[in-house]
């Protein structure tokens, strides 16, 4: 649907987006994830053809988009963008929603019909004649979304659509986005700094950091196989650094990290400095006497509980096993095992659940492995 190759954009000497290569597929929900200031908004503006890239090219549906303004407008009219600030105009709700159709020269009665049906879809039917500026933040954002989707875009761009909204409004808007994607087959590109939102809505994710697309792929890849420390931290894993690959046979490596030795699946060769990412939900805790025998595919580390944190129906248990390990156990099993501070436990982790990332500058990171 959209192909970007080598796209860069500079503002006042600062390159905000650097050499982006990315393909957005028709009909998918693609989430651009990254911390504030990582270039998400700039990239969306480039895709919506509001700005031109300094280098690189963007193709829309196979055609180049670097033509004169009227050609770009014709392409732009096949897309719609919802900005972080709703940008509603000082007019009624229905007038606000009608703008895109008016600009396209649609007849009044057809506009009215479309506006009425989209108002129903976003659940604002009762507010059609209200002044849009008197609405709440969540309602205004729904007006902005209605205004975008009423034009029946092939691609819907959303820039932090739920930033600063309460959980209920966020849920309404997330449901709306999914519905538009499912019912109208609209391709959706969503920028968000909220990992969870990306995970809930998107089929694929691209991680932007400091203007670069550092990783793009299926959700599973990003969450379980982050390519570097920054992404790992961003997706909620605390990487433990200071590891060195001791040996590697058929991608089953033995890694020495601090005082322990860990089996992990990786292609990295012996001698490489690495950091380990272990997702808390992959760690099983058991009492010392019942430790299953360590096999080549399973690590069993003995340790002491240093911290217990309630986490919804779960408890996050931090265990010092020579390296810090966090386990996510249900509150029920935490009570059954009678876990408390200082309890000695065994943490079992499959070798396939240990994700190894290269960590060449580990020595520069004395704060490695700090727990939240």
């Amino acid at each position: 649907m959209i192909q970007m190759s080598g796209v860069s954009r500079t503002f006042g000497g600062r390159t905000v987006v650097k050499g982006i290569d990315l393909e957005i597929r028709r009909g998918e929900i693609f989430a651009l994830i990254g911390p504030s200031g990582s270039g998400k908004t700039t990239l969306l503006r480039l895709i919506d053809l509001l700005d031109r890239p300094n280098t690189g090219s963007i193709r829309f549906d196979g055609s180049p988009t670097d033509g004169p303004e009227h050609e770009r407008r014709a392409v732009r009219r096949r897309m719609a963008m919802v900005f972080q600030k709703p940008g509603v105009l000082n007019a009624t709700v229905e007038q606000n929603i009608a703008f895109g159709l008016q600009f396209r020269g649609m007849q009044k009665n057809r506009i009215q019909k479309n506006v009425t049906s989209v108002l129903e879809m976003v659940g604002l039917s009762g507010l059609s004649r209200r002044r849009a500026l008197t609405l709440s933040g969540g309602e205004m954002q729904r007006v902005a979304i209605a205004r975008a989707i009423v034009t029946e875009p092939e691609v819907l761009l959303l820039d932090e659509p739920t930033a600063n909204l309460d959980p209920l409004s966020t849920e309404i808007i997330e449901n709306l986005i999914v519905r538009v994607n499912r019912e109208r087959k609209t391709t959706v590109i969503l920028a968000t700094h909220d990992m969870g939102q990306g995970q809930r809505l998107a089929s694929r994710i691209g991680v932007l950091m400091d203007g670069r697309l550092v990783q793009a792929g299926e959700i599973y890849d990003i969450f379980y196989h982050p390519v570097n420390r920054a992404i790992a931290t961003f997706v909620g894993i605390d990487p433990v650094s200071g590891g060195i690959v001791q040996s590697n046979e058929n991608n089953l490596a033995t890694i020495a990290i601090r005082s322990v030795s860990i089996q992990a699946v990786t292609a990295l060769r012996s001698g490489e400095r690495v950091a380990l990412c272990i997702r808390p939900e992959e760690v099983t805790l058991s009492l010392p006497e019942s430790c299953p025998p360590a096999t080549s595919a399973r690590n069993c580390l003995a340790g002491t509980i240093t911290r217990l944190l309630p986490y919804g129906p779960f408890t996050r248990v931090q265990v010092d096993c020579g390296i810090p390990v966090t386990a996510l156990v249900t509150r029920r099993s935490s009570e059954e095992l009678n876990l408390s501070l200082g309890t000695r436990v065994n943490a079992t982790i499959k070798a396939t659940a240990v994700h190894v990332i290269p960590d060449p500058d580990a020595a520069d990171n004395p704060a490695h492995g700090m727990m939240e």
Binding site: N90, F103, T151
Partner: protein, 245 residues
């Protein structure tokens, strides 16, 4: 004591003149309104497109131009009077049109006088519209003309403020009216020149009456504007950052 008595007499006489609808008072008021309203309409027709062009286009010297316009906010009325006089006097480049000492000449003078402040305030009004709005309109597929029209519409209350201010400066000025109009009774005599003349001649009653009318016009203008913005006052608060007076 004598002065106080004079003032009291003047006020009494003023109310008599107003209540009895004194023909001269009416004629002067009507002419004032005609000239200043015409100048305001003309200036509005020029200020919105020119202000829009300056705001929306990027060009070299844009900032300098805006600074010049802002400096001209406070140009003395007599300087505009002098300028227009030189232009339209019998020996001037436009002397052949015979505009000196005519209401048309006064309209031209007042239009030039209030054009800078109205253009400047239109630019300010348009700058007050969030940049985000412009992006939104473009992303919704607006052409350049469509988005400019919509942004002018969005800035309507602030632009209305500019128009009101322009009218206020036009109807209250003396310099252009005196120098270009010449204060000819029944032809180019307006409220302000009238007050100047009658006061000089000691006719305080008529002067005070004219002054009251002038203030009443200001009051009516404010009331009309409040009426227009009443339904949207809370909205205009959000746009302008405060209620308009």
């Amino acid at each position: 004591m004598n002065e106080v008595q004079e003032i009291i007499d003047g006020v009494t006489q003023a109310f008599q003149l107003i209540i009895t609808l004194n023909p001269e008072l009416l004629q002067v008021t009507a002419l004032s309104l005609y000239i200043s309203l015409s100048a305001t309409v003309l200036s509005t027709l020029i200020a919105i497109p020119v202000g829009g062009l300056i705001h929306f286009r990027e060009f070299a010297g844009k900032r300098v131009l805006i600074t010049i316009i802002q400096t001209l906010y406070s140009v003395p009325t007599v300087i505009i009077g002098l300028l227009v006089f030189l232009l339209i006097s019998r020996s001037g480049p436009l002397g052949i049109l015979g505009l000196l000492f005519t209401p048309t000449g006064m309209i031209i003078g007042q239009t030039i006088l209030i054009l800078p402040i109205m253009t400047g305030l239109v630019i300010t009004a348009l700058s007050g519209v969030d940049r985000n709005i412009r992006d939104t309109l473009v992303s919704l597929g607006a052409t350049e003309f469509q988005s400019i029209a919509q942004i002018v519409q969005e800035a309507r209350f602030a632009i209305l403020g500019a128009v009101i201010l322009g009218f206020g400066r036009a109807i209250s000025e003396v310099g252009v009216a005196m120098m270009i109009g010449g204060n000819i009774r029944g032809e180019t005599r307006v409220l302000t020149t009238s007050i100047a003349l009658e006061t000089g001649m000691g006719n305080f009653g008529l002067s005070i009456a004219l002054g009251i009318v002038l203030l009443a016009i200001a009051l009516v203008v404010v009331l009309i504007m409040n009426l227009i913005t009443a339904g949207a006052l809370s909205d205009s608060d959000k746009i302008l950052g405060g209620p308009m007076a």
